[in-house]
Symmetry: C2
């Protein structure tokens, strides 16, 4: 599946504005940055994801003849503009934090430097791509924190918001440390391991549960996980014990059981005992059913003997915070910093860099937001990833982003390693940036005066 | 843009189960129903949407050679199964509530009657399609209720979860009564009117705000709406008044202004006065900026003179309830009712119909959930829409669904016409259905006994 590439997947105002830009020759270099204004409540950090799809979009940015024909028939635009649109490609540069990076409010994770019409046309879909995967990687990271050492699998496709969301959520959660996904296409597209057990409908089709277990085991002896909550979980666990020797004689091992309803903390202990007493100490317990990271944390506190989890809805829609307050803002145009002064939405102008410092134990100690050329201590996080409309390197393997998240999460300050962080990670604004913001504000206000 | 059609966009367990079904000859007729188990809090009703895309999916259901080749190389499945998959098409029947119907918990909005493997394979994507559009139509309906007589426009694409979500949210909100969308592709795909104004970046590009307004007006004289909150809203409103006569001389009318930040209730009153005093009584005020239905209701209470609203994030992700607790459940197989007994997830077995009664004023008085052939009073809501894998009628115009929602919302009981309903609409269970559920439960429990 290729992601949607139509450039009509944009807001009408982008086209209206670009027509005006072209008419007035406003095609000079613009700098836009994508950042999150404010973290959702109970969130101490975010994880950047979606960059590869963003770069794919920019590399492929063009209107098809069919789309141009439709725009013409819509009667909204002049033919000269449509000729310009036909030629439009993305020729700019992109700086970005690599996927899997931990980031904070006001820190750009992507910067576009390009002729204004190109940078403007990219806005809607770039936000759409970066927002969703960063949202999900950030949510998934919380689940990983809450369930150390557990196998986490994305079960979210059915309740995800549409097809693309369903596919990309597998990718974003894998970056954050999930073991895999139930979504077959995600294995094909991204090489993410696909996991699958069985549904209640399978059990219900057969005359009784034991018959269903046996039938499934013989049809699917590999990685055999039996769903045991369709009728009565305890009884089903005993049926699994009864069935095991018969299957063993045929060389089939029951790898695990899955619980999907009821009080999972209690049931998992009962089931663990039944399995252990029945000689199935190696059979793991897998749980699912409307779980979120708070449930995972509760299971850990209660010592529930659950080895892995399927996370569906809460992951797919980032249930506690289904959107990030993000923006793609013009920071510079024609060499001059630009700035919005709307109350509560003031932005930091100019081309920026984020610098990260670590303490002597390698734990993150604070970030600096500065102008790009104003070097600060620490490691710069934004790097050049696209030059003149082309990627500067090949496509990094997904495992690289996944390893980065793991590494960065190990270096998170302890105050951020909980589900309800009591600690705001320090992001300082460099003096030169603060001065530029003030100066740009003054200049803009002055320019507004002559009414 | 065609919606994603890959049959690999499914859960791995579906393929595992289907292989087992085929192996054991379990290919008899299965009946699955899609319904919502429980309404989100503060919701008194839902609006069905997504049926046309669901039917498109079923009509096009097939594996490509490429997909089959990949499945073979994955090593998970036998060649006999892959041959069966290659031949698999959807040959079943579908009953459904027409799009735009108001529905309640436990009421099926779609029923699939088909050979078990086909009905099972359809599950994941069918839920994915029906869930999202119903979610958004239901959210949008709240916004329509909260802002009677106002022009509502979908601004949600950028924060929607992926491309498909961005496109379909325009469709679902239009069904619920929105006037249009900012998403260009939605006009092309569905004929939904596209609306567009201008962004802050446009203002910031020009030397000052007045110059930006004038440039935009001359480039886009039609439906001219000027964004006035980039620097100082009141001053910008005065600039609009100052500019109006000059534009009028050129035959250009300022249709409206848009506010996107600040205290919109207060600002809209100030701006209204400035516009009125400046002779721009016909210039409308349009507002946007992180609004949801509670904001709309507050504006109505406060008498804010705002004529239209752009709804973005809260609509696109259904912010207060980003998912519905929905299911696609096996209700009958091989002529016998089926039923899950998992605690808290018991389902009503059998093929069902929903009957709706109205009082003498035409207001909805209560629904009956019954077995299909157990006729009750009132109007049956589920109708045959697909027979033997083909639509029984053509594709109804979108306007039909939109008119249906409007009609049904006019007939909602007053207790449901608020954002925090204090009234649970009565959905009664027919005696025959209750008896069947009990009987099926007993039969299933009995079958489990012989361990």
């Amino acid at each position: 599946m290729h992601l949607a590439t139509s450039l009509l997947l944009t807001d009408l105002y982008q086209l209206n504005m670009i027509e005006a830009y072209l008419r007035y020759g406003e095609t000079k270099t613009a700098v836009f940055e994508f950042f999150v204004r404010k973290l959702p409540s109970r969130r101490g950090f975010l994880v950047a994801a979606g960059l590869e799809q963003a770069l794919d979009f920019l590399e492929g940015m063009r209107f098809t003849d069919e789309e141009l024909g439709w725009l013409e028939r819509s009667g909204r635009f002049g033919s000269r503009f449509l000729d310009d649109l036909a030629k439009l490609r993305f020729t700019g540069d992109v700086h970005a934090m690599p996927e899997g990076s931990v980031f904070f409010a006001n820190e750009p994770i992507l910067r576009v430097t390009a002729p204004l019409p190109e940078a403007q046309l990219a806005e809607t879909r770039l936000i759409n791509i970066l927002h969703y995967q960063s949202l999900i990687a950030s949510k998934a990271a919380r689940m990983v924190l809450a369930a150390p050492g557990k196998l986490l699998v994305d079960f979210g496709l059915r309740r995800a918001h549409g097809a693309e969301s369903g596919l990309l959520l597998a990718r974003a959660s894998y970056i954050a440390g999930f073991a895999g996904t139930a979504t077959v296409l995600a294995e094909r597209e991204f090489g993410i391991p696909a996991y699958g057990t069985m549904a209640h409908s399978f059990i219900e089709v057969f005359a009784n549960e034991s018959a269903a277990f046996e039938a499934f085991a013989q049809a699917h002896p590999e990685n055999l996980v039996l769903l045991i909550d369709t009728y009565n979980t305890e009884e089903a666990a005993r049926k699994v014990v009864a069935l095991a020797p018969r299957l063993k004689a045929q060389g089939i091992r029951i790898r695990g059981v899955r619980l999907d309803s009821g009080d999972l903390a209690v049931l998992s202990k009962i089931v663990r005992r039944i399995l252990d007493d029945g000689g199935l100490k190696d059979t793991v317990i897998f749980a699912s059913g409307g779980l979120d990271e708070d449930d995972l944390a509760a299971f850990a506190r209660e010592g529930a003997p659950i080895d892995g989890f399927g996370l569906g809805t809460s992951l797919a829609v980032s249930s506690d915070a289904p959107a990030l307050d993000c923006a793609y803002k013009l920071q510079e145009y024609a060499g001059k910093p630009r700035r919005k002064l709307s109350p509560g939405k003031e932005t930091w102008p100019g081309r920026k860099q984020v610098w990260r410092r670590y303490d002597s134990d390698g734990i993150m100690a604070g970030d600096f937001l500065s102008l790009e050329d104003d070097r600060q201590g620490g490691r710069p996080l934004l790097e050049l990833v696209m030059k003149g409309g082309k990627r500067v390197k090949g496509r990094p393997p997904l495992a690289e982003a996944r390893a980065r998240t793991q590494r960065e999460m190990e270096r998170l300050p302890p105050g951020l390693r909980t589900l309800s962080p009591d600690y705001a990670y320090p992001v300082a604004i460099s003096r030169s940036l603060a001065e530029l913001a003030e100066e740009a504000g003054r200049r803009i206000e002055a320019a507004q005066k002559p009414l």
